[in-house]
Amino acid sequence: MMNGPEISGAPKASGEPKKKRAAFEGMLGMAEKSAKEAQRRRENPEVITRTTEAPKSPEERERRERVEKLVDAAYALDNELFTSILPLEDFEESKQSLDAVDTMVNGDEVKRERLGETGINSISKRTFRLEGNPEVVAFVKPQSGEATFKYDPTTKQLMSVQHELGDNGSIGEKQTVYASYKEIGQGDMLKSTPEDVRAQIEDNAIVDHFKSRLEGGERIRKQIADYYGITPEEVPLKHDEFGPRVGIDAGDSVIREYTMSRINELVKFGVVPLTTLHAESLTKDVSTAEDKKLNRKVQEVTKNVDVASAQEAARGKEMSVKLFKELKEQGPKHKGAKSLMRLACLDYLGKTVDRHPKNIFYEDSTGQFSGLDNGLSGGLSRTYDARNEKGEPAKKSGPIDAYRSVAMELTEEHDDWALDEEAVIELMRIYDSTKNYLAAREKVGSIAGAGKEIKYLTNLFRLQYGNEKIAAKEGRDFFTRLEYLIKNRRPPKLSTEEQFRYDLHLAEDEEEKAA
């Protein structure tokens, strides 16, 4: 027989006194219980949640509807990917991923910790909870946190624009004037600009960037239109607001983060933490004194104020100098070689231009690399005038912004560093299925249930680019890159890209001279 723990000093009860004591203890218990209940209620007041009315401004209403539609569309695509596209033998893994997505999209936020500085960096660490699923800790970056650059043609001024979410759920702008555009590139511009922006304007890369978008905007637009078979008006680049790359506009980095994560899931490389789109809500406490007296909390929730990327926490730490040197020296013999080559191949597939060491994490115990901050991937491509090997005029095509990936740079150091067999098999699975589908479609037209991968990818690109023809072309380009990886078991060397950049500048020079 099991005995309960003996309580030291507990009175030994017997007979009548026991009853009295019991009654007394009962009263004490009730009082204690009631005090505890009062405390519990104080700590956990009744919460009444009200959803705010739709905004009166049609623009704001449309913006929120877009946020909702985007998150819903991504969620529908995720259901499709994890339940019917990925192989059945990976069911358990797919289920876990879908549960995590579900929790990040539909779960309650139970903890939030702001990590970045207000007005500089809006990243926060949040814990999401959904009944029946494990809790998910994710890093959340709202789209409004992405800085953009604007040009005002009236004042001819360049501005850095920081978007801020207002109390009412609308997104406002905080602008910092960079310089008068007319002054950029001129020797005396630094005299007329404030001290704190001088250093930034001196940065040739920034000046080059603005010049190419402002001066060459129409030309670039035409080159992009030629590449995708669209009109220059359809090119999804804004005229007066720029992102950090020529072919990557500001305002959709969270979708790019999401797309890169899903490409990683599709090819099953395991090198990008699971990322979802998340609709941000704004919660305001509107309790009155009366509510407080009645021990209740009234909160007003404004839904879909912004779209954010929520990324599961990565394991490991940033790439160190020591690790970089080890990888360079040991190449394919390094413990993390397999994973780094996968990341290099993913960077190639996803047209990454921002994979610097700060965006690469490594977990030593497992030899696993993770690629973070994928907001600058999937830029637009173009067709441009260049020269062939004989120096004759020729058309060339490729991404506008050159690949930049430490993973690609490192893996090209060793010729015997190749993509692992398991990863190649995954690529072949997608490639074969698509090839068979396209061949069959040519003969008998569209086939229901077949070619799931290409259909999924095109839908993913549709979400990202918002243009049917661009999505279709990007889907085809993806499979060209996939084929390259299967044949060569590694991405092309970046030196080829350097050549591309050189060709590009050459072509631009030629055009400028001709003009």
Binding site: E117, V137, D203, I206, P244, R315, V321, D354, H356, K358
Partner: protein, 89 residues
């Protein structure tokens, strides 16, 4: 312009594990990263931090621009703040 920020050491779960470490400017305008843990210092001195456009990598010699870039790229794994928390050194 930022002339001093703090680095907060963290564990793998993102919890702060130690007191803030000051990064300020040297007399020559460069950022003084000498108080940082060796691995981090070496990483920042070698790889640098991307600028606002992620085009150029800024190094400690870039002074306050470098500090601004650290604040901008702070994430759940490496935390920098321009706070008034008392530094350890």
């Amino acid at each position: 312009m930022t002339d001093k920020i703090y680095y907060f050491p963290m564990d793998a779960d993102g919890n702060e594990t130690g007191k803030a470490i000051l990064i300020d400017l040297n007399q020559d305008g460069s950022a003084n990263v000498s108080r940082l843990p060796e691995e981090l210092r070496e990483r920042l001195e070698t790889f640098g931090v991307p600028d606002a456009l992620h085009q150029t990598l800024l190094l400690p010699k870039d002074g306050s621009r470098f500090l601004d870039a650290l604040l901008r790229t702070a994430n759940g794994y490496t935390r920098f703040r321009s706070t008034d928390k008392t530094p350890t050194v």
